[in-house]
Symmetry: C2
Subunit: 142 residues, 2 copies
DNA sequence: CGGCATCCGAGTAGATACTG
DNA sequence: CAGTATCTACTCGGATGCCG
């Protein structure tokens, strides 16, 4: 049957992708360290995502501007995340030694390319989040 | 200039996507609760991701099979994640009342559609994880 | 086999205060 | 303004033991 064949092909493609990935993502080799997990940890962190999204929308932002926009984040966590995101190459930090001091953050090209991927995922999640929430509510009621 | 125009268009498209999203993702309204963050929290959790990837590759898995594959996860955390992922609709849980009991987990259609999105992101991360790790090392050396 | 209950330790986030 | 320092609170994960 036609639709089954398509489905099967789709599954085979998916399986190939996953197989290719498990070389890197499978934490069994080495068991103690997996770079992909490590990179994912920062990149999928809730604060990181919001910071990257806001810098995608407002190309240049200063520390306290980000802090206001990313509702609920503390100075401590924000400065930690900014430092890590800079270290990993997602964003740039430019210091202007004026008085008072001015620091500007912006996405790098690399950061923008990640933003594109991220947007695809968050769009999907946005599209289905209501469904997920209602799934969850229905499950609780059982 | 041509390349600038393309870049600008790309930025405008990105900005539109983000703007559309901020209606849902911006935690300011309501400040106390954002469904997208909530859904993301589970969906981007490192254990959840590994579980979904393995179920993408092996269509049906039992509890202890998953536990062996997802290296390092404890029974407690695995059963928590499975319950949450089932509640949110990503996977199905089928109990066979034999002795000893048998329980099988599989992705739902919804779970598979999420897997597709997830693979796009993890492929990107896999592609660039070396770069990120070396970025990070270079940053530390400064 | 497939969990759940309990306890405990580590790490992380938040609040607050302070500084170049 | 852009952080850092310190302390506390609390969540989360791991270990263990038990049960249907």
């Amino acid at each position: 049957m036609k639709s089954e064949t398509i489905t099967e092909n789709q599954e085979i493609t998916t399986a190939k992708k996953i197989k290719k990935m498990f070389g890197g993502i499978d934490p069994k080799n080495p068991p103690e360290y997996c770079p992909i997990r490590d990179v994912m940890a920062l990149a999928s962190d809730k604060w990181s995502i919001l910071i990257i999204l806001y810098l995608g929308y407002f190309p240049i932002l200063r520390f306290n501007q980000i802090k206001k926009k990313v509702y609920g984040i503390s100075s401590k966590v924000l400065s930690e995340r900014l430092k890590m995101l800079e270290a990993d190459g997602y964003l740039s930090r430019t210091l202007y030694p004026e008085v008072p001091i001015r620091v500007e953050y912006a996405l790098t090209d690399f950061g923008r390319s990640y933003l594109d991927k991220l947007l695809e995922l968050t769009e999907w999640i946005q599209k289905y989040s209501d469904k997920v929430i209602s799934n969850r509510a229905a499950y609780k009621r059982r």
